[in-house]
């Protein structure tokens, strides 16, 4: 009995090593001052075949990516408990751990279902915080791992976790002249990617509806940039706009009633708002220069956008009913593609400080204090998209001559790169909460 569980444990460890190679490459750029130490013990498994996913590894990666936690290395663990009666608090106190996660996976007799029993302990208080049993199919092990991560994150920080969310992004593969463009849908960490749309013409600007049920994007499939809305459950899609010129940058208002967009039908790109119930189109800006990249304030009352009306792109804000725009950035050569964080105060954007520095990074502007924090120092960063809990920002950048997706914790201290086997990937779009 004991011997066999040891064999499983060894197998599980070997398997976890193999898996970790495929896991995300997490780079601790500056290190957190006092990261919260968490130990996530490899989950025990009573089945005959190896489990396809390493739940404990996924939970550890998730927690480390947000920057506030440090997961204990498995090699340093003194014991490998899988349930409460095997937990000796002393083992974890010696290792200066504050929290402990243990669990075991068992097969539900007669089928592909598994049961995951997991428990969460506070080491200092020597008490179990919670325990629960999750049931799912073999293909849902990653969902279960993300669910556990969300609960642990919320228990420790008091904030909702965003590990069960999804992303969309665009890829371009193949040589110039025969490039294939694809719109992908994946877990927030880039795993389990599926293709939503494939085209020989460019695809741009994917956006989520507030309930996550629909997406909007720009497709050049008619040889012209036009806006489409697609239902994720049925796959049904419809063309929303067909105005002369640019039709782009669709963004749902947080109250789901409107779609902001960019149209150049009157000669230059301007911001418009389409009322999705009445189909009424309202023009928000009217300027001969370019107005683009709309994003809503949290209360759906205003729209921030990029305009080069003074010569270089800067960020402005306008009331959703129209009126005179208010300029929000002044001290940068190029400030564009703004989006509010869930706190409604911090504005993430793409920033190039001076004409000379020639580097585009992701930065946050606090609109109350006017303080700017640069989160990235790479050269070609663009398309920032914020996790629904504001803990991370994902963006497109260039590495080794191709487009890649990076994510950075909101404090700028931890970065990770999403796995992308081939081609250029760009324009990540983080989903709202889906559960």
């Amino acid at each position: 009995m004991k011997k066999s569980s040891l064999i499983y444990l060894v197998l599980a460890l070997i398997f976890s090593l193999r898996l970790s190679a495929a896991e995300l490459n997490i780079e601790i750029t500056r290190g957190v001052d006092n990261p919260i130490p968490v130990a996530v013990v490899p989950f025990a498994w009573d089945g005959a075949n190896l489990l396809e996913e390493d739940i404990a590894q996924i939970v550890s990666s998730n927690l480390e990516q947000v920057g506030e936690f440090r997961a204990l290395s498995r090699a340093n663990m003194l014991s490998l408990p899988s349930e409460e009666r095997e937990v000796h608090y002393r083992d974890w106190r010696i290792l200066a751990q504050q929290y402990l996660v243990v669990g075991k996976v068992s097969q539900v007799p007669g089928g592909q279902m598994v049961q995951v029993q997991w428990e969460f302990f506070d080491i200092n208080r020597e008490r179990k915080v919670l325990g629960e049993v999750l049931t799912g199919s073999m293909t849902q092990l990653r969902d279960i791992a993300h669910e556990i991560s969300d609960v642990v994150y919320q228990e420790i920080t008091g904030r909702r976790g965003a590990f069960s969310t999804k992303i969309m992004y665009v890829s371009a593969e193949g040589p110039i002249g025969s490039t294939i463009f694809k719109l992908h849908y994946a877990d927030y960490d880039g795993r389990r990617a599926q293709i939503l749309l494939e085209s020989r013409e460019p695809i741009m600007s994917p956006a989520w509806s507030p309930d996550g049920g629909q997406i909007a994007y720009v497709s050049f499939e008619t040889d012209l940039p036009r806006i489409y809305i697609q239902d994720l459950s049925t796959g049904q899609r419809r063309q929303v706009t067909n105005f002369p010129g640019i039709n782009s940058s669709p963004v749902w208002s947080p109250d789901a009633s409107k779609l902001a967009m960019v149209l150049s039908k009157d000669g230059s790109p301007d911001i418009y708002v389409l009322d999705l119930a009445t189909n009424e189109l309202r023009q928000l800006t009217d300027h001969p220069r370019a107005e683009t990249e709309p994003a809503w304030t949290l209360d759906s009352s205003s729209v921030v956008f990029t305009s080069d009306r003074t010569g270089q792109p800067q960020i402005y804000k306008v009331d959703a009913t129209g009126g005179l725009p208010e300029r929000m950035t002044f001290d940068c050569f190029y400030c564009a593609k703004a989006q509010f964080l869930p706190d409604g105060v911090n504005l993430v954007h793409v920033r190039r400080e001076t004409r000379q520095d020639n580097s585009y990074g992701i930065a946050i502007l606090n609109v109350q204090t006017a303080r700017v924090i640069k989160l990235t120092e790479t050269a070609l960063d663009e398309s920032p998209s914020v996790a629904p809990n504001g803990s991370m920002i994902m963006f497109g950048t260039t590495a080794g001559g191709r487009g890649v997706l990076d994510a950075v914790s909101i404090d700028g201290r931890v970065k990770f790169r999403l796995p992308s086997p081939q081609g250029d990937v760009r324009e990540p779009s983080w989903s709202p909460y889906l559960n």
């Binding site: 371009a172 110039i176 593609k337 585009y360």
Partner: protein
């Protein structure tokens, strides 16, 4: 079939261009030859006329060659973050405009592009502005609005890959493509 049509079309364009040029040169012919005829003897005058004729023929061929080269130039490059075409492309674009004016059934698609620096949606706007700058110039010089379609691809369809200035320079462009 398509190829044949294309050739016929090209010869038609060429023929029209030649007729146009012949019309131009015949007027300048008489103007320039008149003084020569007055101040010289009959045989000298005939010789001068022949030489002048040959010179004009060479000029005509040169002009025709230049115009064809201009029409064969279908990619126009732009400076960083600039939406106005380069002054050195003026003459070439005037030839394009006149050719469109002379061929009302012909229409072209102006595809504007940006290099990859900066945000994608802003680059889409920049590509459109570049295409519009060429469109407006062609209209001023004789092409009609209905012959010109513009589309911006922003940074989505680079001409060459790479992160060097040389690649960027080749990607900031407007391509003149046959429409339809």
């Amino acid at each position: 079939m398509g190829m044949q049509f294309n050739n016929v079309f090209k010869s038609a364009v060429l023929a029209l261009t030649i007729i146009g040029l012949a019309a131009c040169s015949s007027t300048s012919d008489t103007e320039e030859m008149a003084p020569v005829a007055q101040t010289a003897g009959e045989s000298d005058a005939a010789r001068a006329a022949r030489l002048e004729q040959e010179r004009l023929e060479r000029e005509r061929q040169e002009q025709q060659r230049r115009e064809q080269a201009a029409l064969n130039t279908t990619v126009f490059y732009f400076d960083f973050d600039v939406a106005e075409f380069q002054p050195s492309d003026r003459e070439t674009l005037i030839v394009h405009a006149r050719n469109l004016a002379a061929n009302p059934n012909r229409s072209v698609r102006l595809e504007g592009h940006a290099d990859e620096r900066g945000t994608r949606e802003y680059n889409l706007a920049l590509g459109e502005r570049r295409a519009n700058s060429i469109r407006d110039f062609l209209i001023v010089n004789g092409a009609s609005r209905g012959q010109l379609e513009t589309v911006s691809y922003g940074e989505e369809r680079p001409a060459v890959n790479g992160q060097a200035e040389d690649a960027y320079r080749q990607n900031r462009r407007v391509e003149v493509q046959p429409a339809g």
